[in-house]
Symmetry: C2
Subunit: 258 residues, 2 copies
């Protein structure tokens, strides 16, 4: 029974982009210099196709704590995370919150069902985003089947992750949940070509709790238990070091997981 009232007034304000620091290739504009292109949906496009995509993109920035999209609002845009961390969540009427996912650079945001966003997305860290107007993107998708396929794969991937999370929320103990969470962060960091072990933790304990279906206290206690068991450690920057990957995996993992 967690309320998790964030004090931040989550007003959806998207700053228009700061003037781009003009990358070398003038044709591709910001895309040429984009260091997460290889991770994002853009990675299936040829130079010419990328240029077409670029034309409908707006670069936007979002301050930490601000809302990018809001549950129930008309789904007018989709986004690609270029830099920063995002949390997605749904609320119950009385304020109970469930975080359904965290997004990192390269991740895609905004797939909606009935032209209505099904969840809220809020910046944990200052964000750099690529914004795609939905209408224009849909027109483009009809002409770029590879991009559409890529997007399909993205959604299928999210679905698989959601199913893993259901297993976690429905059947794992607190300690197992935290272990699973750390391993997930580690794997995703590795995919972004970042070190898998001293893990930066931009999200708060409350965020982790609302992601894992626990309370901040229980998350904290679980961290302590894992630390005392020698599975993890913390450095001064509050990063989490994985000391015993096998042990952590044994604790977290289900029958067959990636």
């Amino acid at each position: 029974m967690v309320a998790s009232m964030s004090i931040n007034q989550a007003t959806p304000i998207l700053k228009p982009a700061r003037p781009q620091p003009k990358a070398p290739g003038p044709a591709l504009g910001p895309c040429a210099a984009c260091d997460i292109r290889a991770l994002s949906i853009c990675n299936v496009l040829s130079a010419g196709e990328l240029e077409r995509l670029r034309r409908i993109i707006t670069q936007v920035q979002v301050d930490a704590g601000r809302t990018v999209i809001e549950e129930g609002a008309p789904a007018e845009d989709l986004f690609n995370v270029v830099a920063g961390t995002v949390k997605l969540y749904k609320l119950l009427a009385d304020g109970r919150r469930q975080i359904t996912g965290f997004l990192f650079p390269g991740d895609f945001l905004g797939i909606a069902l009935n032209d209505i966003y099904a969840y809220t997305a809020e910046a944990i860290e200052p964000l750099q985003l690529c914004r795609f107007p939905r209408r224009k993107l849909e027109l483009l998708l009809a002409e770029l089947p590879r991009l559409e396929r890529r997007l399909f794969g993205e959604v299928a991937h999210e679905l698989a992750a959601a199913q893993d999370q259901m297993l976690l929320l429905g059947r794992k103990t607190a300690k197992e949940r935290v272990a699973s969470f750390l391993l997930q962060l580690s794997r995703r960091a590795a995919k972004r070509r970042q070190p898998p072990s001293p893990l930066p933790m931009p999200m708060s304990r409350a965020d982790i709790a609302d992601y894992l279906g626990l309370t901040t206290e229980t998350v904290s206690r679980s961290f302590t238990q894992l630390r005392q068991a020698g599975l993890i450690a913390k450095d001064r920057q509050n990063r989490v070091e994985i000391r015993n990957l096998a042990g952590l995996s044994a604790l977290a993992e289900d029958a067959g997981e990636a």
Copy 2:
């Protein structure tokens, strides 16, 4: 900590179809007589397109308790549920089970990520399925963009449902979970043009428990509470009647749900 050992030996046996009772339209074969076509992915296809799809379809039947697809197995086929009920689940190494969804006639089955099924699908009732070989279907999708879009929508829908379920598993009480479950069944029945109120319950208490992240005992007790509160009732066939829709919704629902 639920084990939910089902005794049934879940061997994946797909019976080749019984000889089709030859529907009037000879061209469309089984599709012409298919009474769930309007619900399924087929509903976006013209007659000619449907015929192309039909050519790659095999009709199969599955006995109750048998496995249709198995977590970890190579994803060679996709299916459309024509008749019967399916449960999808994932297992932990020690046998704990999480049911990630139930499928009813019209629902689609088998979207996989890395050509590997991410979950097991088991028949609750005897099934009638349309089987699509994945390879052939993929080739066809490239030529039938409408079908691909339809499938995309299907996956997006599943994702949204999964997010709702995460909210349920992470933050709702036992009574709220059961109420949500009943409403979900009711809505889906209505979509299939079946009466939304005396709800047939083909799944066992154990299945419901593993779907809601509870135990059979807690599910049973919650049912009793809802019954005593006058929100639901049961008839002799074990169907659940919704007596107070508003009350049930108030109990179940989050901020903004369909």
